[in-house]
């Protein structure tokens, strides 16, 4: 019996539409993630959230984010029994800082737009960053489409277990600054690297003097631009000098790249290297001295929620890897870690 031919001609159109729809949804998911990064810095808000790790008791926290004279500040207050005093975060990016989605990230994650949901009484859109291999966790976001705030976030392992999750139970926005305003991290609280990043990017846009919100941008002269460029190049050279390491990776797991070799400071002769795939990061700490002659096959590992730690010896050095990635990824990164030898 011949198939109904009138439908055969429609089939390519249906397939094309399906492909277009899938691509459109992926683009929408990426757009919403990028929006989340930008929107959060212009909001003043407070909320209560629950933080849950696998095999642990849930913990509740209160968070307040304010903008005072163009400077972001954040306060986090644990609410459970035996909790301490409120703590002021060093970076106001405690909720969500996600890299702008790059083609490299899309090679290892597929970004899918999900259905609408509701968290803390607010409608939010589900977005899934689905790993294309077993080297990273599945990440599930629920983003408030109106404010761009991350209301719920989950990390899920290959066994479909939620290893870590946080969700707001209460959320209130007090004020939203205009999109044109410039907002700076609180200088007293910012980490050295974070402040440098923001200061450099801000200086490129406006006069180095005028960095406060609500002020009009000062005109940027050619001399100012040159001075900024020279300063940036000098800082980059110094950073390359500080970041020199005899260790390198050959290879790194797909999607990962080394972004830092100093980690801000070297402590007691240790090295601190950071690698990331855009959504998950791993710190590698290298220390010499105690393990020379010890068996290099012995490996110790532990886990806490999404955080995994692996310790093993290589070439007489104790290597400790810490990251929000599966244990197998730490093992692969360790296997690819090599030490340059001077001939």
């Amino acid at each position: 019996m011949l198939p109904n031919t009138k439908f055969i001609g429609v089939l390519p159109i249906v397939l094309a539409a399906s492909f277009y729809t899938t691509s459109a949804y992926a683009e929408d998911a990426i757009s919403l993630l990028n929006h989340m990064n930008e929107a959060i810095h212009k909001l003043e808000y407070s909320g209560k959230l629950v933080f849950i790790k696998k095999d642990s008791e849930p913990k509740t926290l209160e968070i307040e984010h304010s903008i005072d004279a163009g400077v972001e500040k954040e306060m986090i207050r644990p609410l459970d029994a035996n909790s301490g005093e409120p703590v002021e975060a060093s970076s106001p990016f405690s909720l969500n800082t996600v890299a702008r989605v790059t083609p490299e990230m899309q090679e290892v994650y597929s970004f899918d737009l999900g259905s609408m949901s509701k968290v803390a009484g607010r409608p939010c859109r589900i977005i899934i960053a689905r790993p294309k291999d077993r080297k990273r966790y599945l990440q599930k976001y629920c983003i408030d489409e109106e404010w761009g705030v991350l209301l719920q976030y989950s990390l899920i392992n290959q066994q479909r277990e939620t290893v870590e999750r946080f969700m707001f139970t209460d959320f209130t926005v007090y004020q939203k600054l205009p999109d044109s305003s410039n907002v700076q991290v609180a200088s007293a609280n910012a980490t050295a690297v974070g402040a440098e990043k923001i200061a450099v990017s801000a200086a490129k846009m406006v006069s180095p003097v005028a960095l406060t919100a609500t002020q009009a941008k000062a005109p940027v002269t050619a001399e100012v631009e040159d001075a900024i460029l020279v300063e940036t190049i000098e800082k980059k050279k110094q950073k390359e000098k500080d970041n020199y390491s005899e260790w390198f990776f050959d290879p790194l797991p797909a999607g990962f790249k080394m972004i830092s070799t100093a980690g801000g400071e070297k402590v007691k002769g240790e090295e601190h290297i950071i690698v990331t795939d855009g959504l998950g990061s791993v710190s590698i700490f290298i220390m010499k001295g105690e393990e020379e002659g010890k068996d290099e096959k012995a490996q110790s590992s532990m886990e806490s929620g999404a955080l995994n730690i692996l310790t093993q010896v290589k070439d007489g050095y104790t290597i400790t890897l810490v990251g929000e990635v599966p244990k197998v990824t730490l093992q692969d990164i360790f296997a690819g870690l090599k030490r340059a030898t001077i001939k």
Binding site: I76, P78, E265
Partner: protein, 194 residues
Amino acid sequence: MTNTTKTEMLSAFLDNESSEFELRRLLDEIQKDEELLHKTAQYSLIGEVMRNDQSKVTVKNDFLAGIHTRLEDEPVYGEVQVKDTIPKVKTSPAWLRPAAGFALAASIAAVAVVNLDSSMKPSGSDAAQLAQRVVQPAQNMIVAKVAASQPLFKANAAIRSRVQRYVNSHLKYASSTTTSIMPTIRAVSYATKY
């Protein structure tokens, strides 16, 4: 038995993958090999490094940047001699050997289990099963090994301190140099006493 085999047995034990036979063999080897004894205690105690901080979080300014300052103010554990609580027995009558071996194995397991709280545990292991399997009388355990375990308490505290510093550094620097979700929330939840 080669060093590679011993290390594999130790790794299997720590990952809760040892059979009863392998466990007995491991305990036998620990009697003879001081280095293996050292390694067993060292690796077991790594699992306690992320226990909850007992002090209140009172830092009001720059919480994450203050972590390193607080850690620098802590005493250097390597210079502190922890009081030995394991009894020394010079002569070992036959009836005492299993009990002494039990005490040594129990001390290793007890430290590993008690200090493995809900926040941090060896990957893939059940702490209760681990305790039950390790706490068994060891046959003909050489009691002199007890004295050799004293320096381990110094080394274990140093390891604990170092790994905790690594986690704090990761939460601080990885979050500022890369992109990450909720680094401060993680740091606060690890530091707060619950």
